[in-house]
């Protein structure tokens, strides 16, 4: 039936799983006194291999494997590459910043790699059961990573809050899946999209869609499901926050795109206003709350809620332009966010002696490199041209305008102005000279691994900001494949005929 062996369809996940198992087993066999740092390199190499494997998947014809449960298409490759890239940066960052002693480094790297398996599967899954399991893999690994600082009270607090609220949200998603299965009799996404317009139990489908949206919007921390975000970001170790504010969100956005554009294109009139409201709420709530924060990580947590709002604005776009804009924004947001958290990790350290905005005073004199990188990423988050943030916002809002949601774009622009307030406050603080030189913290050291991580993040942000064409083309070719193929057609090929949008 399928000329491509099934195993090739899950090659990146397979590579990541093998890496995780290898890291775990090596960790268990090494003598207790040996340093575990090299395991991080093993994990990083495995992730790089997985990245190449997903790029190689582009040469496969578009199609599904394992009885139509996983799909490979430019869309999945786009998100696979993005997620593997983020995980790679996070691993490099942890390599230099994780303290040598009293931490389960082996488990830490293994959990990150296994979490990446879940996130990658989530973007490729076209079967709701697999979606659920993949989401659980990525969530559970991040719950555990969030609680990794056991010696402070905040770590366990963050992990437990995240775990309880996250499990509750997963419950909503599962209930939604159950209702949709009840209405259509299948959990295969292509079949659902084919059956939904003619489903006799329309109310079931609507309730299922609503419940699924609650579950997914929680994972992307969009208002009003955002309450967990600041506490978790504050309590989790910074390298982990760099990961969990980007990679699981990218995967969840991929799932959201799949659910709304591929599974329920026929219900566009229903989910589009819902996402409009959520987008406006997220932007406004996130930005207004961020203005009042003194703690840098809390501020960035609220800023990430606002960014989820800008991203959701792209969902107002019609069909392909909306999908492409949302995918592009995900990439831009991930690049700059993982970068700024890398800088924050270096400045305040794993134990976070310097959590407040005030502590960043004079950073640019203490460490010119980190200071200027901080300013660079903040400028990108504001959305100033020649950075990834600018084109992200540009495409997102123009998708919204082309979809007829002009007010959404206007609210988004106003919000970007508001957001500049708190980003620039941090910029200004970091260029002001510190009055008492004596209490100044020592300049942070930048190691090889972390240098590579920063370089990757800066390069990605710059490429997205100066020559966005290539990535945008990738996002667009991904968008073309994100429409369910007609039920009986098994014609592999890049140009799957897009379904007419209602």
């Amino acid at each position: 039936m399928n000329p491509v062996p099934d195993i090739f369809r899950i090659l990146p996940e397979l590579v990541l799983t093998l890496t995780g198992v290898a890291v775990m087993l090596i960790d268990a066999t090494l003598p207790a006194a040996w340093p575990r740092r090299s395991l991080g390199w093993v994990a990083a190499i495995g992730t790089t291999l997985a990245l190449w494997a997903s790029l190689w998947q582009l040469s496969l014809p578009v199609g599904t494997g394992f009885y139509s449960t996983v799909e490979t298409s430019p869309f999945t490759v786009f998100f696979h590459v993005l997620i593997c890239g983020i995980v790679l940066v996070a691993l490099l960052l942890s390599l230099d910043t994780l303290p040598e002693d009293s931490h389960h480094q082996g488990e830490f790297y293994a959990l990150i790699v296994f979490g990446a398996v879940g996130m990658c599967l989530l973007t490729g899954a076209v079967e709701l059961l697999l979606v659920f399991i993949a989401l659980e893999i990525s969530s559970i690994s991040t719950y555990i990573l969030a609680g990794y600082r056991k010696d402070t009270g905040r770590g366990p607090e963050a992990a437990i809050k995240y775990f309880l609220l996250g499990s509750f949200a997963t419950g909503f998603l599962l209930y939604g899946i159950a209702l949709i299965f009840g209405a259509t009799g299948t959990t295969q996404i292509y079949e659902i999209s084919y059956l939904v317009p003619s489903a006799p139990n329309h109310l079931f489908v609507l309730a299922g869609l609503a419940l699924m949206l609650v579950g997914i919007l929680f994972k992307v921390s969009a208002a009003p499901f955002h309450v967990w975000t600041p506490d978790v970001y504050e309590g989790a170790p910074s390298p982990v926050v760099a990961l969990l504010s980007t990679a699981p969100k990218a995967a969840a956005f991929a799932l959201l795109l799949r659910v709304v554009y591929e599974m329920f294109p026929s219900l566009h009139s229903l989910w589009s206003p819902l996402l409009w409201i959520v987008a406006v709420l997220s932007m406004t709530v996130g930005n207004l709350a961020a203005l009042r924060q003194q703690n840098v990580k809390r501020m960035l947590a609220y800023s990430s809620i606002a960014h989820a709002g800008y991203l959701l604005a792209a969902f107002a776009g019609l069909g392909n332009s909306g999908i492409a804009a949302a995918s592009f924004y995900t990439a831009a947001y991930a690049a700059m966010n993982v970068g700024i958290f890398a800088v924050i990790t270096l400045v305040s350290g794993y134990d976070e002696q310097l959590p407040l905005v005030e502590d960043y005073r004079g950073l640019i004199y203490r460490s010119p490199l980190l200071g200027s990188l901080l300013i660079f990423f903040l400028v990108s988050l504001v959305g100033i041209p020649f950075t990834g943030g600018f084109f992200g916002k540009f495409y997102s809002f123009s998708a919204a305008v082309s979809g007829g949601a002009i007010w959404l774009a206007i609210i988004g622009l106003l919000n970007s102005g508001l957001a500049a307030g708190y980003y620039l406050r941090l910029v200004l603080t970091s260029v002001q000279r510190n009055a008492d030189r004596k209490n100044e913290a020592p300049a942070p050291q930048v190691g090889v691994a972390v240098g590579a991580a920063l370089l990757l993040a800066v390069a990605a942000t710059l490429v997205l900001g100066i020559v966005p064409g290539e990535v945008l083309r990738a996002a667009e070719s991904g968008a073309h494949t994100l429409q369910a193929p007609p039920p009986q057609a098994a014609t592999p090929g890049i140009a799957v005929e897009p379904q007419p949008q209602p």
Binding site: I10, T17, G20, M24, A32, A33, P35, R36, F66, Y67, T69, V70, E100, D101, S102, H103, H104, Q105, E107, F108, A110, L111, F114, G115, V117, G118, L121, E127, L129, L130, I133, A134, E136, I137, I140, S141, Y143, I144, G147, Y148, K150, D151, A159, L179, A183, P200, N201, H202, L203, F204, A207
Partner: protein, 181 residues
Amino acid sequence: MHLILFFLFAGFCLAGAINLLLQSHPITSALSLIVVMTSLAVLYLLLGAEFLAIAQVIVYAGAIMVLFTFVVMLLNAGREERTMGSRSARAVGFPAVVAILAVIATVILKAQGLGVATLGEGLTDASGKTNIEELSSVLFTQLLLPFEVTSILILIAILGAVALARHGSGEPQGNRERTGK
């Protein structure tokens, strides 16, 4: 006969659930939850869902409830205390639960209406094939990948439990010093 069994165990189930909510001691609540789970298993069996009934007994009444009682007893949890917060949560929570259940019930009734269930017969239409046979054939063909991927999920859970529960691995000395302080 089936009808008598149904009403008997449905009664048990409801009584257990109400008792679970009313009791303030965690161990009594946990024990009444076992009653709820077991009588639910009998109800599933009566409806012809053997696999679900067995899974219910093994997983819920067996593994999960044993874990619950263990944790409750190990932590030596006392009576629940009634505070302002818990009273107000009760005042808000009960109407909210009733509202959500009402919405779901309306959706189900509107979409499907009330059907007639036959007690004591198979759940599937397929002749000569039991529930379990059908389920396993789907599980090992169409749903092979989700089934296999579950192993990663379990692996992560084990890893996480180890990482969170074990004390400092690499440096036993350093850890001892810290706890000694």
